[in-house]
């Protein structure tokens, strides 16, 4: 990056450290932090949307829809979610390729043959000849979808509870004013449920932050991948030889996560205070008393 870094073997001390920390691979490492943030930024709204759909379905008066919603919320609770992560990524990949093979292959066959999963080359996603970037992006998209699916089930659980926690009298009053079911839902239920949902959702956000290292297991080059890659001991054949430094890299990741959860905690406490403002709950009462 800097001109003085052209010959790393001849420099030492602070200059060496500066050159080392700005080497090409380290820049990739720093970018991978953005990968994690991007995953969070995409997954959180997607999971919330899926959770909202699940909770709404669970409240439906049609039995099959309601069972579907409740089943979705219930299924991820008995099983470790890492099983879902490992399962969905490969199952989705194969499912998509199978569907594509039905559309584009000359004579599509059942792809699960013996010990292989085989579709014609045109049905591969992404195509064998596409660039490494597309392979990475596809892997990342699968990961986002899987995260959204699993965390959506948890969000559905939280939101379903929150919708039930809104006082019955509020809904009955709205109905007495002649509002339709849709209007009650939009104007009364949804605006009031957030204060009840917030503790559960903040818990979920913390869990989501702490689930991001699992990207590594899904084959995305995330911070854990780079920490292992960069920290491993490097012989003289490398530009910057050093002993095994993985401990320090993982310590760095630990500090990153601790800071991230701490900041989240502070922000969520503020949001909670704002939502509680003026609510007829114990939290709202405490705020009123503190101000008076």
């Amino acid at each position: 990056m800097f001109a003085s870094c052209a010959d790393p073997k001849s420099i030492e001390g602070l200059t060496w450290a500066m050159c080392y920390l700005t080497s090409g691979k380290h820049l990739d490492f720093y970018w991978s932090f953005l990968t994690v943030l991007l995953l969070l930024a995409l997954t959180a709204p997607a999971a919330l949307a899926m959770g909202f759909a699940g909770a709404t379905a669970a409240r439906s008066r049609l039995l099959p829809v309601s069972l579907l919603g409740k089943g979705y919320a219930a299924i991820v609770r008995g099983v470790p979610d890492i099983v879902f992560f490992l399962f969905f990524v490969i199952a989705l990949d194969q499912g998509l390729e199978y569907l594509k093979s039905l559309a584009v292959c000359e004579n599509p066959v059942w792809p699960w043959q013996g010990l292989e999963f085989r579709v014609c080359p045109e049905a591969k996603i992404p195509l064998g000849k596409s660039s490494a970037f597309w392979h990475q992006a596809y892997g990342f998209a699968l990961a986002v979808f899987t995260f959204a699916l699993v965390f959506g089930a948890f969000a559905a659980n939280v939101l379903y509870g929150a919708m039930n926690a809104v006082p019955r009298a509020q809904l009955e009053t709205a109905e007495a004013y002649g509002m339709s079911h849709g209007q009650v839902f939009r104007r009364i239920l949804v605006p009031q449920m957030w204060v009840y949902a917030l503790p559960g959702l903040s818990n979920l956000w913390m869990i989501l932050i702490k689930a991001t290292p699992l990207l590594f297991l899904l084959g995305v080059k995330d911070i854990v991948y780079w920490a292992r890659e960069l920290g491993g001991s490097k012989t003289q054949a490398y530009e910057y030889p050093h002993p095994d430094w993985r401990l320090w890299y993982f310590l760095g990741l630990l500090v990153f996560y601790l800071l991230f959860t701490k900041v989240s905690e502070i922000v969520l406490a503020r949001i909670s205070a704002r939502l509680n403002h003026g609510q007829a709950t114990a939290g709202g009462e405490a705020l009123r008393k503190a101000a008076a």
Binding site: V76, R77, G78, V79, P80, D81, I82, V83, L86, F87, I90, A91, Q94, W112, L115, E116, F117, F154, N157, V158, G200, N203, L204, I207, I209, K210, A211, T212, P213, L214, F216, L217, V224, A227, R228, G231, D244, R246, L247, F250, L251, L253, L254, Y257, L258, T261, K262
Partner: protein
């Protein structure tokens, strides 16, 4: 090979007994169910021991956290923050690297050489991490329960002249357990779920002796078919979850036996999946 022979060969494969070579071709459903079930032994080992040891450390940390003296309270607060604020996945990696830094030849303590190589093996190293992790989570639960003991109970105890250790033993301890138990049940369930991370993070499986997910992943990699092994793991874990819920419900009934039936706390599952 009949199914019974497969069971004989692989039922304790995860502990190193029986057939040494894992199946390499012509995978049968029986092999998958047997081997994955054999791996469950590790999940149960990690879960049970971490919970059993963690319970005592958790109570100690919870008490330290509610201490009025900052010298006792602060370390407990930091311990809980460290283990609850960071992913278990990273904790495993970190612990593995840290344990590898121990001198290979062993540490000399008062003329006796203490071996260190075993600490990097999963049965010890991962158990240590799980033990500390569940202690931190459970300490937070117990701390919350200590805080919500009714004020009147403590005042009544003092009015009767019960103080110090007696007060803790007879009033605070049983009430704390009773209040914390539903949340602690969830902690136990999700600790069992967390044990599946062990062999996917840092700690290598020694001689292919891994847990349920390790074998499921092995089969999925070999057969390119995720639709058989992963649902098998799922079924095993649902059964384990039901068993844990049942055992904890029995204890819960005992803790609540003096209360009228309409105020007993029911155990509700709450999400706390990844640590």
């Amino acid at each position: 090979m009949t199914c019974w022979e497969t069971v004989q060969a692989y039922a304790f494969r995860s502990l190193g007994f029986g057939e040494n070579l894992l199946p390499r071709s012509d995978f049968t459903l029986c092999q998958q169910i047997t081997l994955i079930g054999s791996g469950m032994l590790w999940n149960i080992y990690f879960g049970v021991l971490a919970l059993a040891f963690g319970f005592f450390l958790a109570v100690a940390v919870a008490l330290a956290k509610s201490s009025p003296r900052a010298l006792v309270r602060k370390p407990a607060e930091w311990f809980v923050f460290l283990f609850r604020g960071s992913p278990l996945f990273i904790q495993f990696f970190l612990a593995y690297e840290a344990l590898q830094m121990l001198p290979k030849a062993g540490i000399n303590i008062l003329g006796i050489t203490v071996e260190t190589a075993w600490t990097t093996r999963a049965w010890a190293g991962a158990l240590l991490v799980l033990f500390l992790n569940t202690s931190a989570y459970a300490a937070e639960i117990f701390h919350g329960a200590l805080k919500s003991i009714p004020k009147g109970d403590l005042e009544a105890a003092e009015a009767y002249g019960i103080t110090g250790w007696q007060k803790f033993r007879r009033i605070q301890w049983p009430t704390m357990l009773r209040l914390a138990w539903p949340a602690y049940t969830n902690e136990a369930i999700f600790l069992f779920h967390a044990t599946t991370l062990v062999f996917f993070s840092g700690f290598p499986a020694f001689r292919q002796m891994g847990d349920a997910l390790y074998y499921a992943n092995y089969f999925a990699d070999k057969t390119f078919n995720p639709f058989v092994p992963y649902p098998i793991v799922a079924v095993y874990f649902i059964l384990l979850t039901l068993l844990v819920t049942w055992i904890f419900a029995v204890v819960n009934r005992r803790l609540n036996r003096h209360l009228p039936s309409n105020v007993k706390s029911r155990i509700r599952l709450r999400p706390q999946l990844i640590r």
